[in-house]
């Protein structure tokens, strides 16, 4: 459904050049939960930004269902791919209420008539487990987990087909993280979405993704079904990553390569 073909991207700051992505090609199929795993500098966020049209690649193409995606894209294409960011603290405009934040995509893409907006916002909040009265709250009165839920509701508002999630739970406490991840999986089922899940946390990937690509310094180290990559990792970098996961039980220790 989303095809990434031979994408390369270089960043030059003063005299330093960093090859953020080097000839990366992927195929993400409908209803996948596709994980992009890597440490800092791996290029995973750059790749997400290129798919979203925030950055322009130096070479290569991105395709959505046979249509090529460029950085400048029309509203119809924009609504299909939405984004949940890493940092819940800065993802909501501090001067806008929750209602204002969630209703923005509804207005831009004319999802519903103006007099139906309030009702739709209430419904979206209920999908993410928040009561209607949250509509009038400002972000500074919300916890990290609640902010992230609002961000998810906002992403769902434009009725997208693909959701790109960039470390959506890394900044949250572990128990909250668990609840938000469960929420994300429920929503994926309920709305038949495709997820591109970017993270450095392999134990999360193990439990939610059906396909995973491991990236290292802009190149693909390993790519395949989650079970295969974890049970039979071929690349030594992948093995190092799996071994480095902090585990809390002896059974898990035994699984590591």
């Amino acid at each position: 459904m989303i095809k990434v073909s031979n994408i390369s991207k270089k960043f030059t700051i003063k005299n330093n050049t960093v090859q953020a992505l080097d000839d990366v090609s992927l195929l993400i199929e409908e209803h996948d939960c596709f994980a992009i795993v890597g440490e800092s500098g791996s290029g995973k966020t750059t790749l997400a930004n290129i798919i979203l049209g925030i950055y322009i690649q130096d070479s290569g193409e991105v395709w959505l269902n046979e249509k090529q995606l460029f950085s400048k894209r029309n509203l119809k294409l924009r609504k299909l791919i939405q984004f949940v960011q890493q940092n819940p603290m800065s993802t909501l405009n501090p001067k806008k209420t929750v209602y204002s934040t969630i209703s923005l995509p509804l207005k831009i893409h004319k999802i519903v008539n103006n007099n139906e907006i309030s009702e739709r916002v209430e419904k979206l909040l209920s999908y993410v487990g928040l009561e209607a009265e949250y509509m009038h709250r400002y972000p500074d009165t919300l916890s990290g987990g609640q902010k992230q839920r609002v961000a998810i509701a906002r992403a769902l508002a434009s009725e997208p087909k693909v959701l790109i999630l960039d470390e959506p739970t890394s900044a949250l406490d572990v128990i909250v993280q668990s609840k938000v991840l469960n929420l994300l999986l429920d929503i994926k089922e309920q709305f038949n979405l495709t997820y591109i899940f970017i993270t450095h946390d392999l134990s999360v990937v193990r439990n939610i993704a059906n396909k995973v690509v491991v990236m290292n310094k802009g190149k693909i180290e390993e790519l395949g079904a989650t079970n295969n990559v974890f049970n039979n990792p071929t690349s030594s970098y992948t093995k190092t990553l799996i071994r480095a996961i902090p585990t809390v039980t002896d059974e898990e220790d035994a699984i590591k390569p």
Binding site: E39, N207, P246
Partner: protein, 291 residues
């Protein structure tokens, strides 16, 4: 008066902040102890009060709206209400601290060698040349092959992992009795995290330095700590040895913490009931002493 063999003993420590919205009780009578050379972890999520505990040990919370009660006994002296002058004698020498983001902890406009100089002066007066040599030796000991280049660099020129190793070395150079480590590996990549923790382990073992590790990451606790305190909203809800906590967690909150971590076996995400109890109201679980 009997001398306890505890290096650090926190007794019934209470902390509250007075804000416009009301009074916030951040620490509610917590008790904690560390022996010489012991590695103890204080585990909790955000809002638990774990970070303010380290600030209190170092005497960094002195605003007008802060109320502190109880005792922090360091080598049997109550340091909770020490003056800043008295704290200056302890900080950097007897008690050292490592923070989460190593690059942010270092002053961006000074070279590494100058930052070492400041730390060395806590020990005794010495010339910049002697400080440089001392720093060089310390860095060589931790397998940094080009210490001279590192010392002449600015913090932004180092990678996160390297910077953390420099910070750890700096913190340990005066052989403190107690090392406070506030989420020391959280900002690092997973593969580098273990290196930083191993380094901390090696250095502190050599000098018999006790470590109080503050974290929310149970995996790190399991790798590093001997004894564990679990804190929730200003209350210690469980205390025990590493084996007791991980094999037989007693308190519902500890169980929830362990359950919430996705497992490598890949059997799916942990499921929670929507309504969690108020963990702070459930009585503290103390493991029976095993000999």
């Amino acid at each position: 008066m009997s001398m306890s063999n505890k290096l650090l003993k926190i007794e019934n420590l209470e902390l509250s902040f007075k804000m416009y919205e009301g009074v916030f009780n951040v620490l509610k009578k917590i008790n904690l102890e560390l022996s010489k050379g012991e590695k103890v972890a204080l585990v909790g999520e955000s809002g638990s009060g774990k970070s303010v505990t380290t600030k209190l040990i170092l005497g960094l919370l002195n605003q007008k709206n802060v109320t502190k009660k109880g005792k922090i006994l360091f080598n049997d002296r109550n340091i909770l209400h020490f003056s800043q002058n008295e704290f200056k004698k302890i900080r950097g020498k007897n008690i050292s601290i490592i923070f989460q983001d190593p690059i942010a902890a270092l002053n961006p406009v000074f070279k590494i060698k100058d930052q070492f100089y400041e730390v060395n002066l806590n020990n005794k007066k010495m010339s910049k040349k002697d400080s440089f040599i001392r720093a060089c030796n310390a860095l060589k000991k931790v397998s940094i092959t080009d210490p001279e280049r590192i010392l002449e660099s600015y913090p932004f020129q180092l990678s996160g992992g390297l910077a953390q190793r420099v910070v750890i070395t700096m913190a340990m150079i005066n052989k403190p009795e107690l090392l406070l480590a506030d989420e020391p590996s959280t900002a690092l990549d997973v593969t580098i995290q273990n290196q930083a923790l191993d380094l901390m382990n090696d250095l502190t073992k050599e000098t018999n330095t006790a470590v109080l590790l503050i974290t929310h990451n149970m995996g790190v606790v399991r790798k590093f700590a001997e004894k564990v305190y679990v804190i929730y909203r200003g209350v210690i809800v469980e205390e025990g040895t590493k084996t007791q906590i991980f094999k037989n967690p007693g308190h519902p909150y500890t169980k929830a913490l362990l359950k919430s971590i996705p497992k490598l076996s890949g059997k799916g995400l942990p499921q929670f009931d929507e309504d969690a109890p108020d963990y702070a109201l459930i009585e503290k679980y103390t493991h029976s002493q095993q000999l």
